[in-house]
Amino acid sequence: MKTISYMQAINEALLEEMERDGSSVYFGEDVATMSGAFGATAGLLDRFGPDRVFDTPIAEATIAGAALGMALAGLTPITEFSFADFVGIAFDEIYNKLGKWNWMHGCCFKIPVTIRLPVGVMAGAGPEHSQSPQALFMHSQGLKVVVPSNAYDAKGLLKTAIRDPNPVLYFEHKVLYGMPGEVPEEEYTIPFGQAEVKREGSDVTIIATSLQVHTALAAAGMLAGEGIEAEVIDPRTLIPLDKETILASVRKTGRVVITHEEQKTGGTGAELAAILAEEAFFDLAAPIKRVGSADTPIPQSIFLEQEFKPNEEKLMSAVREVMQY
């Protein structure tokens, strides 16, 4: 094992997979010369040259649509938007084209496209550079959705994403970039559709994604002091979703709190809660609680963005509430 940051984990996955797959290309805004808005693509241009690693114009619909075209013509395109918020600009290309192209054309293609999408509130980046739009894709067809919460998952899941013959949206949290984590020296991948129990517990299940996994672990630690043992489950991929691990935990605990950074209403927690209301109703001893962000756009002020977001306290009080039943 070695200790590297989440960002380095991403960088290693890119270097390794582009080495492995000679048809892979990496492109996006300022990814080649400058190594991306956050530096994750360092070394790619030097290693793979300007045809395979290149800067594009500022035009995200074109980037996503071109990724599809490249895939249809036999490449393995890997791309990124500087901020996940920009999925709106390429929504038709991602949601309708990348997601549905293969199926609607009778399933004769492979579309091995990976799009890296940095999410999350960080340092006052404001309403259009701080969002976590993954929930929009819970209602997509043909896309896979990945939400890694630590360096180990980031690397293993990104390698799987790049090898996957389907389009994958890879949502990485900007606050996690600097976070160190243990990663094996040797090569590994993490299969999609396997949630991980990040902490075991018997009283309540907290389902958390992305940065909120850390909020949940911190909250769980404090709740243990109050005698509440929370189990923290990180789905790691939202499509495909590992329902079994979640349902098994709820069977054990009978109580669920779901937390994510995106706004509560219509967030990924909506679908998770609905699945539980359908499939785990008789296992539940208490109402489900969701702890998301406020149902507002994201304020630019660094003070107000703290109010906007979920945090340990909000999560702990939700847990305490479901423990009352």
């Binding site: 797959d21 048809s23 290309v25 045809d51 395979r52 290149f54 594009t56 114009p57 035009a59 619909a61 074109t62 996503a64 649509g65 071109a66 990724a67 599809l68 075209g69 490249m70 895939a71 249809l72 013509a73 036999g74 490449l75 393995t76 395109p77 038709d92 290309e93 309708n96 084209k97 192209w101 293969n102 199926w103 609607m104 054309h105 009778g106 399933c107 004769c108 293609f109 492979k110 579309i111 091995p112 067809q141 043909g142 896979k144 090898r163 996957d164 013959p165 389907n166």
Partner: protein, 337 residues
């Protein structure tokens, strides 16, 4: 500004075989389309059909210079183009009828969503204009793969207004991609005349200049002119010379979709096009005048084509419908790349 290309092409400069091949392609497309409309009226085909009758010179003239491994993104009036590129007719009819023999294996496809990778037919986007950016990607792939394939991107005058036009043109020029943009300017986007949908200098093709891309305006119903100008563009693309933009002036004879009474157009103009500017009629007359082919040659081709069409329809009709569970198949591809 784009070059307005006018050429008085002497058919005698071409092989008779070649000249008849262009003819055959055009009548095949028209017969395909007329028969599809018949099947619609017979209730054997459903959905919305955008007839390409009147615009046959596009597919015939351009695809004549394409190889099987070249790519096309046909447009929503583009059965003409996919037929010219070589998608088997029974597969296309099969898609319209929702049969298993279709390219979608029973999911069904109207004019959009037929794909046939064997012939470089990459499919179509139901939202107009994605073609520009998908073509950019396909073109870029050729650059990386270092093959000498070419990608032709077909679209209508109306579609040329989509925002993605800018993104696709810019990539094509910037990365010097082997793409030919072919704008079928049939004057209307549904009910809207192209002069009411575009701020133009003179022609849509004039926009190419701002990207450093050569632009050409041609009579899109003159199949030999389409052939020559497209051939030059395709060869330039193939040999590393980068993208081109061709605007072919043409006209759609029928409503926007079958069932559209098209009251927004002056019927006299429609008739003028049908009588005086019909691609097939004029081509026949011209070959005969030049002594390059005779009535019997055309009649023989017509008969062969008719048989080919009817056989394809029969084959499609003989193909079974899929099970209801077809929709649950194939959403995700298994395995790894």
């Amino acid at each position: 500004m784009a070059e307005v290309v006018k050429r008085d092409i002497d058919p005698a400069r071409y092989d008779k075989d070649f000249l008849l091949r262009l003819y055959r392609e055009m009548v095949k497309q028209r017969a395909f389309d007329e028969n599809l409309i018949r099947l619609l009226h017979e209730g054997k085909v459903s959905g919305f059909y955008h007839s390409g009758i009147g615009q046959e010179a596009t597919g015939a003239g351009t695809c004549a210079s394409l190889r099987d491994d070249d790519y096309i993104l046909y447009d929503h009036r583009g059965c003409n183009q996919m037929i010219a590129k070589g998608v088997p007719l029974d597969k296309i009819y099969g898609d319209f009828m929702g049969r298993l023999c279709g390219t979608t294996c029973g999911l069904g496809a109207g004019i959009v969503h037929v794909a046939y990778p064997e012939k470089g037919v990459l499919g179509q986007s139901g939202t107009l204009g994605a073609c520009f950016v998908i073509a950019a990607g396909a073109g870029y792939a050729v650059k990386v793969k270092k093959t000498d394939q070419v990608c032709v991107c077909y679209f209508g005058d109306g579609t040329a207004a989509r925002e993605t036009f800018h993104g696709g043109m810019n990539w094509a020029g910037l990365y010097n991609l082997p793409i030919v943009f072919y704008c079928e300017n049939n004057e209307y986007g549904i009910s809207t005349h192209y002069t009411k949908a575009h701020a133009l200098k003179n022609n849509i093709a004039d926009r190419a200049d701002g990207y450093g891309i050569p632009g050409y305006v041609i009579d899109g119903n003159d199949v030999l002119l389409v052939y020559e100008v497209a051939k030059e563009a395709i060869e330039r693309a193939r040999s590393g010379g980068g993208p081109s933009f061709i605007e072919g002036k043409t006209f759609r004879y029928r409503g926007h979709f079958e069932g559209d009474p098209a009251l927004y157009r002056d019927q006299a103009v429609v008739e003028e096009w049908m009588e005086k500017r019909d691609a097939i009629k004029n081509y026949r007359a011209r070959l005969i005048a030049a002594g390059a082919a005779a009535e019997e040659d055309f009649a023989a081709v017509d008969a062969e084509v008719e048989k080919e069409i009817l056989d394809a329809i029969a084959a499609a009709e003989a193909s079974p419908m899929p099970e209801c569970t077809r929709i649950y198949e194939g959403l995700f591809v298994e395995g790894v790349v």
